[in-house]
Symmetry: C2
Subunit: 203 residues, 2 copies
Amino acid sequence: MNESVLTAEQILDAAEQVLRRYGPAKTTVVDVARALDVSHGSIYRHFPSKAALRDAVAARWLHRVSKPLRAIVEEDGPAPERLRRWFDALLAIKRAKILDDPELFATYHGMIMDARSAVEAHVEELVGQITEIIDDGAKRGEFAAADPRRTAEALFQATVRFHNPMHAPEWRDPNIDRDFDALWALVTAGLGATGKTKARPHQ
Amino acid sequence: MNESVLTAEQILDAAEQVLRRYGPAKTTVVDVARALDVSHGSIYRHFPSKAALRDAVAARWLHRVSKPLRAIVEEDGPAPERLRRWFDALLAIKRAKILDDPELFATYHGMIMDARSAVEAHVEELVGQITEIIDDGAKRGEFAAADPRRTAEALFQATVRFHNPMHAPEWRDPNIDRDFDALWALVTAGLGATGKTKARPHQ
DNA sequence: TAAATGACAGATATTGATTTTTGTTATTCA
DNA sequence: TGAATAACAAAAATCAATATCTGTCATTTA
């Protein structure tokens, strides 16, 4: 397939492909090497261990979640609306992934459970984005948040049921949107926002 | 040990005992029967399946969590304070269980994962208790909750990280109390309560 | 001479033969 | 006669022999 030198990128692509086919339990370094038509020793030139390779795949996957959200952070307009839109987008991305291919979602979820540091970085990125929106809202006088960072953390934790894959089975509940609206009303009031932001139906 | 006829209570006691000793994976119906010095067939006279026995043990365990909380629901005094006390008690009970005997906690958690209906009843009981407090607070003019039931659900879901055993590993985080305080400040504002919980003179 | 290989040891996973467990039922017991 | 049992089939768990996988490294390749 490839004739130039083997790159980490290529390995990650192959690993993802193999993972899709075999699932996280059955995927071996030898399988990934075979997909690239190289010896498995070559993989260890780019990743010190199977765990490191797994973490890199997880990080890439998580980045695909957080990247489109950044656009919302950088939009203009009222922070309260942006904040709601940001959460709606986060929830839509997560749910799209699970609806699109539940098995692949389970694959990544299972894998990510063991990739602590990748998840920590991901959460840090997301909370950072929320902080930016709240911070901006505070500057505009739209939020009464004394400590944007702590408020962002609280907001992220309060909504954990709606975005943490651990809770994914609950997302099938037909009342999930209702539930989120009720929760949002509660925390929005706590932000000193007007709370008049309308719900945005996902899909 | 016993000479009268075998009761479901006795079986549950024995099952709990055996579970403590062997863990959920290794516990068999034969083990439970042996602890009672009866044949395992006798157990099937009281419980239609091993799953039913497991559910009954889970329900009993969950009841031990919700029962002491009821006292707080029925106390006098300002609802905002009672509400905070109720959550503090819930969190304390959960954390005491995990600190006291992490292995036993894991045992019950693992078991409860498969006892969906028992968990649903438990959640219903807890949300019901929260609803009562909020309802009472609304009547006293301490809360501005339009729909106490939905508010209770939102509150329960917003705090899921702090009481759902799925999140138990996070409870080791030294900032967990800080986190809960920040979250509480957010949702308390949404309830229309003053975070200061100054008692409104009632009656 | 940097990249890739292939052979290797120890750790881990698979497999299939064997045992244990679950759940049923005909029989015994008190 | 209702409660308990013991014997049983089917399903699930165990175990040990066998195979595969991970990670290393001396050698080969381009």
